[in-house]
Amino acid sequence: MPRSELAERFRPMLRGAGARFSREAAQRPILVFEDVYKSYEQGAPVLRGMTLVIERGEFVFVTGPSGSGKSTLLRLLYRAETVDDGRILFLGRDVARLRADAVPFLRRNLGIVFQDFKLVPSWTASENVAVALEVLGLPPRLIRARVGEALERVGLSGRGDALAAVLSGGEQQRVAVARAIVGEPALILADEPTGNLDPQLAIDVLGLFEEIHEGGTTVVFATHDRTLLEVRPRRVVVLDDGKAIDVPNGVASDEYDNRLPL
């Protein structure tokens, strides 16, 4: 299914109260964090008035020291957590105010990849990828074809029938990436996707995300791995003291302030 058709399918779900989908909305940034506050415990805020704008088709690294709130930022976005204050606009719709029963439809527009892969070990690679389309209720034949394509894109064609449990770490992460892209979501979120992989594999997996990005998908990639940030000059968002500090041309550029905690 081409991306436009998929967008068609989900547009009503993402439409705000009364606000109709419009061409203008399509030109807006894909993702906006507006003055977001979040704390898990009283007196220990993780995000304190964080503001961040991500345009369609961008590839953005989110970095910062451990505990700075990278995972929290992503969890707020896919509504595993809710904000204390502020707005998170995804495709113009405020995620923070989505009703609980609309959350699944939000997640169908996102592809999420984790450090620990989150594959079902007793399922085959294909089954692990197919699940993202099964929840949409697509016909099995179409699912099979799309799963085959997705596995091919991540370099795993022919491994579809292998149980996830027997795959290597790198292969497992590729399956997870295939699952994230098979539904052709507008936005891919990756939370330390290379954290469990050795340095060479980490570079390979980053390459995979770059390829996906080249296909037009917006990618938000959280990592604290400095070497990945330096592979290419890319926009980096550093979380510090509950706020986002933008470094548009990457950590290697002149604008990058080396005093930032990394």
Binding site: P104, K118, L119, V135, G137, G183
Partner: protein, 293 residues
């Protein structure tokens, strides 16, 4: 409705955790065997009650001094009572001889005197004769000078009725036990299954499955467990029933007046449906709170 995906996922879950499911089905079958056995007893007791309620005969015992004329007059009168289709005279000697044939070789009984066997008129009663009419007729018969006593075998019917009522009460109690067993067994099995498949649930929710979508296969699995438990119980009871019936000689059956019968198909189907519905409900109840992602 159930989608292809739901049934496929349920099947996959059951195949991969077949030991757990088999254990659950076995436990449920044990509970259902108790219920089924009670229902089987009720079925046969009420068949016997039905049989005796329409025994189709009554005995009018005659006073010792009754003359042949008295007897003839009485017989003529009795055959005119609506519902009485025939009357046969059995003399004291005949009764003694009949008894002797049935209990040949029992010396202790052979010593019974002729006075232990009063003469009687054996009536054939139409099976559709209402109980009230029969009671009425009996009351009138007892007033006649030649009549000593009347036996309609109704007391047997009443005793059987009491037994049937007891059986029904026991079955109802066992149904409650089965209900509790299904809730407990399916509930804990599904919680265990859910625990083992936590990653599956987490993944489903991450890719945007609704709670209903996540739950459906688990509910199907619970329903299948319940239904299979009932089917297993019925199969086991059928085997036991055939074994017992094989050993039951025809004389005993004749004495009771009914052939033993198995659970009617409606009751058997009802048990399976009950198992399925209870299993599904128990599963649904135990899944109320899904893994939060």
């Amino acid at each position: 409705m159930l989608s292809v995906t739901t049934t496929r996922r349920a099947k996959r879950g059951m195949v991969r955790e077949w030991r757990l499911h088999a254990l659950s089905v076995f436990s449920l079958a044990v509970a259902f065997v108790c219920l089924g056995a009670a229902l089987l007893v009720v079925t046969n007791l009420s068949a016997a009650q039905d049989r005796w309620a329409h025994a189709g005969r009554a005995s009018v015992y005659l006073k010792e001094g009754a003359s042949q004329d008295d007897v003839d007059a009485l017989r003529a009168a009795l055959t005119r009572v609506p519902g009485v289709t025939g009357a046969r005279y059995v003399s004291s000697g005949d009764a003694r001889a009949e008894f002797g044939r049935e209990f040949a070789g029992h010396d202790a009984l052979a010593g019974l005197g002729a006075d232990a066997f009063p003469a009687s008129l054996e009536l054939d009663v139409a099976p559709d004769m209402p109980d009230a009419d029969l009671t009425d007729a009996v009351a009138k018969m007892k007033l006649l000078p030649a009549v000593d006593d009347v036996e309609t075998y109704q007391s047997w019917t009443e005793r059987l009725a009491r037994l049937v009522r007891g059986g029904v009460a026991a079955s109802a109690l066992l149904a409650v036990v089965v209900l509790a067993a299904v809730l407990a067994v399916v509930g804990s099995t599904m919680r265990l299954v859910l625990q083992r498949r936590r990653m599956e649930v987490e993944v489903l929710k991450l890719v945007g499955a609704t709670d209903a979508f996540v739950r459906k296969p688990f509910v199907v699995e619970g329903g299948v467990q319940g239904a299979l438990g009932a089917v297993g119980a019925i199969a086991l009871l059928a085997v036991l029933f055939l074994m017992v019936r094989g050993r039951l000689d025809s004389e005993l059956a004749a004495l009771v007046g009914v052939e033993p019968s198995f659970l009617p198909w409606q009751v058997a189907c009802g048990m399976v449906v009950l198992g399925g519905v209870l299993g599904a409900a128990a599963s649904l109840a135990s899944l109320r709170r899904l893994v939060a992602v």
